[in-house]
Symmetry: C2
Subunit: 352 residues, 2 copies
């Protein structure tokens, strides 16, 4: 369909807009369609349309990406989900995005759950089929992590490395605590604020070992391979050189972030000291092996949905058609619901 | 027009949407129209429409406010403006919003230029008729203030007290420096992130005296009278009690904020110590007197547009009709333009 004919059609009926929208997912699927849509918007009331334009730009930027995020339900509701697709169809971000972006260069994929400077606690859901990102719910309410002064939301792009699992049945040999039953967490420290659901390619620089309510919760520290500083950052010591104070703030951030919600201060293994790049690679290697056992049904899944579309050896592999059905049956995308302004409150927590 | 008839009309033609939009300014004018619009959106493609919903919610919240912000041009362009209206028509936010919200309680009006955690350098423009808010331009580029780690954008709701002027021809008796030729700046420290163009009623708690490139630039510290802590905060000493570290961070923020742009560290009078509530009231009283001279043409305006619609004694008073013309002739509202991701970069500046 040519832009001109779309214009003509739009003059006659708004139904065409609906149809166009229905075909294009957030982060888009086809470059041309985004163009067509942008042309359409020029025919629509131009003011007050910020969000629409924003979404379209995201799409256009991401058309070259290998993965697309598909928003379903309304943001700021318990229905909200982000599913993922590759060029062939729906995938699980946990099981079907490879751990390595480039194994020879030891660069990893990272699924962004929480962009820097935001505080909606979004995470890959382990229990739902295809493991969409959704907002955590505590006591029936959507969870927003407290802003602890001087920080605003998360101070890195926060997410997970796919095809990893911190096995809750295995004692971590270096921390002496069991795993937290999640994919391994990763903090991306580059200059750019990433998009929720974006898949970054990152270089691993080191790690810290948070002990969160008694469980080992590794936080891998990494930088986007496309960041201008990526080549200069070779190991954990370079982080302090280029980002002075960031590691100290990172440890403090995790120690206090649950205190406003009535939880005690979190602890760190190794006295909060960050471990090297090599150490981090070993940790990731371990949690990837646990995931391999999980996906082959060699480990007890304990409620984790292991449905996937790309792992030939997995007994949990499903057909693409069934994966399409799962997304089709999820709630229709909708307008964001309002958020209470209390989620922006700054809490003043000071450690002794 | 009833919601139902709008629904019916919308099914037939998108033109109605245009008309409805054209009637309603950002932050809205009539509660009912916002409702009608929200109903209309339910008929429109629901996904990807975040921004629209956001704008409408702002409108609905602000329908009880005495002042409305009117967006013109496209955000993130040099054309972008926010004009102001009261119940009678267009006004200047500098000259027509009274300094006092309630003179008997000594509460002031504050025009929000830069919401907390944002960094687009928006300010009341002194030279343009009706003094709309616009984004500052440096070397032909829209100005975004550098984010200096650990801070994200401005760390308070930032704006100006109307009907004040820091006279550049008068030596400030306490700082020994001349005024910076602007309305007096004010930092609102309540929990809520305000909206750009919102007019808050605030309680003044104290002040610091920034010396910015050699000019006196008072920063009044205040809290929204509707903040839950407003009653407990009586003077500047209560700020440290309830917001420990905020005053120190405030002084540091202003010292370093221009360093990433190649400027030297800023200085503070009184060794950076914050002055009391009473001191702040005297400072505001002085700068209000300078404004009184300005608006009566007793002081040299030096390029400042003093056009106003409410000051009976002012030779610069204009007719409402002429004020309407000014807004009508300004650029039509448009979609926000994209912003380069470099404006989100975190700069690591550490003072010795």
């Amino acid at each position: 369909m040519k832009t001109k004919s779309v214009r003509t059609t739009l003059r006659n009926t708004p139904r065409m807009i609906k149809l166009l929208f229905a075909e294009v997912h957030l982060y888009g699927r086809m470059h041309i369609k985004s163009h067509v849509l942008l042309s359409c918007f020029k025919l629509l009331p131009l003011h007050l349309c910020g969000g629409l334009r924003g979404c379209l730009l995201v799409k256009r930027q991401s058309t070259l990406a290998m993965y697309q995020a598909v928003e379903r339900g309304s943001p700021n509701t318990t229905d909200y989900r982000i599913y993922f697709r590759n060029a062939s169809g729906p995938i699980s971000p946990l099981h079907d995005i490879p751990i390595f972006a480039d194994a020879s260069k030891k660069t990893y994929n990272m699924v962004v759950e929480i962009p820097r400077w935001t505080n909606a606690k979004m995470e890959i859901n382990l229990k739902e089929v295809l493991n969409p990102i959704k907002q955590d719910v505590k006591k029936g309410k959507l969870r927003f992590v407290a802003n602890c002064f001087p920080h605003h939301g998360y101070i890195w792009n926060y997410g997970a490395i796919p095809q990893t699992w911190e096995n809750p049945e295995v004692l971590d040999e270096s921390t002496g605590c069991k795993g937290d039953n999640d994919p391994i967490d990763i903090l991306e420290i580059g200059f750019r604020v990433a998009k929720r659901g974006e898949v970054l390619q990152v270089k691993v620089l080191g790690t810290v070992a948070l002990i969160d309510e008694g469980e080992t919760d590794w936080k891998i520290i990494a930088i986007d391979v496309n960041d201008p500083l990526a080549d200069e950052l070779k190991d954990i010591s370079d982080v302090e050189k280029h980002f002075p104070g960031l590691l100290k703030a990172t440890v403090e951030w995790f120690k206090i972030y649950k205190i406003p919600d009535g939880k005690p201060e979190n602890q760190f293994a190794f006295n909060g000291e960050a471990k090297s790049r090599e150490f981090a690679h070993h940790v990731i290697d371990d949690v990837h092996k646990y995931w391999c056992s999980l996906i082959k049904k060699e480990a007890e899944a304990g409620g984790i949905s292991c449905a996937n579309v790309t792992n030939a050896e997995s007994p949990f592999k499903i057909e693409q058609k069934d994966a399409e059905d799962i997304i089709a049956k999820s709630p229709q995308p909708g307008l964001p619901h309002p958020v209470e302004s209390i989620v922006d409150k700054w809490h003043y927590i000071h450690l002794k």
